[in-house]
């Protein structure tokens, strides 16, 4: 049965189209900038097609050792961080998904976790802890302080609760241990949720630049987004009165080069989306129950 197209469909389509374009066009402009020559990029001549097409910016990136070093650090961070995040999230969410009858202290743990989420310690105490336990300047400083994302735990916990109890019971009757129930029954049924949460972790780790500014003391150890941020950050023009600063300014104001760096840094995320897409189509809530 075909539905007639009515006015609200058109409006929805237009709204979504505008929203989609407003996300896509700035990115496309950056792509166009990255393939243009420096002068045209500075002169605002580039809209959606490259002007004086060339690959100089990308050639320069290829030669930029620190860019690739930071790139690798980011990759390692994403892999380590996501694995640890997901592992801890699962291990915490499953017991918490049990009712108070099965797990008496459930409420206390839950309240503690939510309390910590709502009232975080703040930057300075966190900084001092990280420093005193010797995490400064290591990749772990970007992973361990945020190893258990409570928001994700709550999401997954609720998802587990949505899975019919009878499935678990069936497994238990067949003699499965709690671990086996988790790995063999619960997780395979939670793939949409796991995919979503993994993506949160991946994107979060990949895009985070601020943690490294705080905890990393060597610029050679910066992850990619921190590295990119410092080359594209706005420059205070009123401070330009000496030569060093001017040179620096010239470097950072090369718009086509900076655009190219942004494009390269976005590619890995773009590559991940298609692989996780099939889980999103069903959606985190939709895939939960089949009874």
């Amino acid at each position: 049965m075909r539905k007639k197209i009515n006015i609200s469909d058109v409006i929805i389509f237009l709204v979504v189209l505008v929203m989609g374009l407003s996300c896509l066009l700035p990115l496309w402009n950056v792509v166009a900038l990255s393939f243009s020559d420096s002068a045209s990029a500075t002169a605002n001549r580039v809209r959606f097609l490259p002007v004086n097409f060339n690959l100089n910016a990308y050639k320069k990136i290829m030669e930029d050792a620190q860019f690739w070093k930071s790139f690798m650090i980011s990759v390692v961070r994403v892999i380590l961080g996501t694995v640890i995040n997901m592992l801890l999230t699962i291990l915490m969410a499953y017991p918490l998904s049990k009712s108070k009858k099965e797990f008496r202290a459930q409420g206390i743990y839950m309240k503690l976790a939510i309390f910590a989420m709502l009232f975080p310690a703040g930057m300075i105490p966190l900084f001092m802890v990280v420093k005193d336990v010797g995490l400064m300047d290591t990749i772990w400083s970007m992973i361990i302080p945020a190893a258990v994302p409570i928001g994700n735990v709550i999401l997954l916990m609720n998802f587990f609760r949505g899975i019919p109890k009878s499935l678990e019971e069936a497994a238990e009757i067949d003699g499965a241990s709690p671990f086996q129930v988790l790995w063999k029954v619960m997780l395979p049924m939670s793939l949409p949720a796991l995919a979503t949460l993994s993506l949160f972790c991946i994107v979060g780790h990949w895009n985070d630049y601020f943690t490294a500014i705080l905890y990393i003391n060597r610029t050679v150890n910066y992850p990619l987004q921190t590295y990119i941020r410092q080359i594209t950050a706005a420059f205070d023009m009123s401070k330009i009165t000496n030569i060093e600063l001017l040179k620096q300014y010239l470097q950072v104001s090369s718009r086509n080069l900076n655009s190219a760096k942004i494009v390269v840094s976005v590619i890995p995320l773009l590559l991940i989306y298609p692989f996780l897409q099939k889980y999103f189509v069903t959606g985190i809530v939709m895939g939960a129950v089949k009874e």
């Binding site: 609720n158 706005a234 023009m237």
Partner: protein, 585 residues
């Protein structure tokens, strides 16, 4: 039913979660660091044996005697964003051309306690170091308030004796080039607590005009405000750049954007300072009046006159009509694209006009120090004499190391010693470092009139009146570049962009700066008072919004009087009192 609810809850949580992630992401940017300082002294390590005691003593008390053993110091280092080490070298951030020179000359070696790029990131690192009480032996502090806080909490060393013993003649000479004002600002209660980095005088902003447009329209050099208005009007109406009618914008000014405003900076860009100073108004500066008391320039009646000119120009279309939404990149774009032919900026403006030259070789920019008053001079206020403060951690056993290190940097960067010294390290320094990558753990500073000096040295060398090595290392590279520019012009070739840039800045811009007669007014206060900490940001916001409203004709010029009243009531009067009290001290 119950399940349905659960699903909804999950969905809501999901949304909440995503929103909160976004919020957290935003708040991180401006999260403030409380700067409560906690003193925490490291115990000083033992000094070495007595056989070399004389050598240690000599090192401690003279400008250039090396230490008998390598002294290690930790430093909070600023590094430039993309470091490019010389090709084929094994240099690192702590072993490179800069550090090896220090090592060879006075036997010191740095380890970096932290590194960050200049600006916000570095400031963040410094405030973290102060908060946790874990200071490096030497670090840079960017503002007076933090410096003062370190002094008040007894966290940094008194450098008075070290300076008296170890400062080289060159260092003293450079400080003297601005009447030792920088040293005065680093002195608290008669004691010197920092080695300040001097500010180079950028001179007043110059009016940069498209010379090729002026020639096309037969316009003569501007002198007065009316001349300027006339030129801009001709640019817009006669459209010499062939942009199509209405596409050429007038005078480019920067609105509130990234700590910049259309006035108040030192040799900044897209400024309107000159239009205020001609009337004796000194926006955003604390200026002494005839009776000696200090007043804030932006709220003086003279401001109103300058503001009246700007709002009139705006009405006539002589000022970029979209001023309120422009960013620096936008303005650079307009200039590069040949849509804008007039703006005020320091001698470095060619860095912003270079793309117009690349895209259109006919583009020619001329700099004028205008408008001039009845005496034929342009009026300007002078800079804050200090850029930043280098301080030594309390309890560090070699406080003089900072000064000795600076001596080395100055000797090789601000004199011709880089050419007379023939050691391999110096050669490497000259060939590779020479301002090419910024990893200097200590760094130097420059003469107050460095821009004028470099113009003099370079132009004299170009005319054959000065040996090309009788100048600093950096001036020499500029000289080489300017020479290439001249040769290319003589041979009717198009000069390289770099050479064009250096020539335009150093010779074209530098000449105007050097030859201009100026009335200079020294502001009397650059620091922060107690009430300023609480109220200054609000007052600044109030000021900038008012100025923009009047400029863009949203408010009548008389709105200025109301602003002055509000400003005084909202804390301005109290701050003025505090400033006067601070000066009297």
């Amino acid at each position: 039913m119950g399940r349905n609810l659960r699903e909804k809850l999950t969905a809501i949580l999901l949304v909440t979660c995503m929103t909160s992630i976004m919020l957290v992401g935003c708040s991180n940017n401006d999260s403030e660091v409380s700067k409560s300082a906690i003193g925490q002294k490291d115990s000083t390590s033992d000094t070495s044996g007595d056989s070399t005691e004389d050598a240690w003593m000599l090192a401690k008390t003279t400008p250039d005697a090396p230490y008998p053993e390598t002294v290690i110091y930790t430093v909070g280092a600023t590094v430039t964003s993309s470091i490019k080490f010389p090709e084929g070298s094994n240099d690192t951030t702590t072993d490179n051309g800069y550090t090896r020179l220090y090592k060879e000359k006075i036997n010191i070696q740095n380890t970096n306690k932290f590194e960050a790029s200049d600006g916000e990131d570095y400031i963040q690192k410094v405030s973290m170091a102060i908060t946790t009480g874990d200071l490096p032996d030497i670090m840079r502090v960017d503002d007076y308030a933090t410096f003062k806080e370190l002094v008040d909490n007894d966290l940094i060393e008194d450098l008075t004796d070290a300076y008296n013993n170890c400062a080289s003649d060159l260092m003293k000479e450079i400080y003297a080039s601005n009447n030792n004002k920088a040293l005065d600002m680093a002195t608290v209660d008669g004691k010197l607590y920092a080695i300040p980095t001097t500010q180079i005088s950028g001179g007043p902003e110059l009016l940069w005009l498209r010379g090729d447009w002026m020639d096309k329209l037969g316009l003569s050099e501007p002198k007065t405000l009316d001349d300027i208005a006339n030129i801009i009007q001709e640019f817009i109406e006669k459209d010499p750049g062939k942009n199509g009618s209405g596409k050429t914008v007038g005078l480019a000014l920067i609105p509130k954007y990234n700590n910049q405003f259309l006035y108040g900076s030192y040799a900044g860009g897209y400024q309107a300072n000159n239009i205020f100073t001609i009337y004796g108004a000194f926006p955003k500066q604390w200026i002494a009046q005839a009776d000696g008391s200090a007043v804030y320039g932006s709220v003086q009646p003279e401001m109103k006159q300058g503001l009246a000119v700007l709002s009139d120009w705006y009405k006539r279309g002589l000022i970029d009509q979209q001023i309120a939404v422009r960013t620096e990149d936008d303005l650079k774009g307009l200039i590069g694209n040949g849509q804008c032919g007039s703006f005020f900026a320091g001698w470095w403006a060619p860095y912003h006009t270079v793309s117009s030259y690349t895209l259109n070789p006919d583009a020619e920019w001329r700099a004028y120090a205008v408008p001039v008053g009845k005496d034929g001079k342009v009026t300007a206020y002078t800079n804050n004499p200090v850029q930043n403060y280098f301080v030594v951690r309390k309890g560090y056993e070699h406080p003089e190391l900072l000064i000795k290190g600076k001596n080395v940097s100055l000797a090789y960067n601000q004199s011709s010693q880089a050419f007379s010294d023939t050691s391999d390290t110096v050669k490497y320094y000259r060939d590779t470092v020479n301002g090419q990558y910024g990893l200097d753990p200590l760094g130097g500073f420059d003469y107050y009139n460095a821009a004028q000096l470099s113009y003099q040295h370079i132009s004299e060398a170009l005319e054959g009146k000065r040996d090309e090595h009788d100048m600093t290392m950096y001036e020499n590279t500029l000289y080489e570049s300017c020479k290439r520019y001249q040769e290319a012009i003589d041979n009717n070739q198009k000069p390289e962009t770099d050479d064009w840039l250096n020539y335009q800045c150093r010779i074209a811009g530098g000449k105007v700066l050097n030859d201009t007669q100026m009335n200079l007014v020294d502001p009397v206060f650059y620091n922060q008072t107690e009430t300023m900490k609480l109220k200054w940001a609000t007052l600044v916001k109030m000021e900038e919004e008012t100025m923009l409203k009047i400029l863009t004709n949203q408010e009548n010029i008389d709105y200025f009087d109301k602003f002055v009243k509000d400003w005084k009531a909202a804390g301005g009067d109290q701050i003025t009192q505090e400033v006067n009290a601070a000066i009297a001290k």
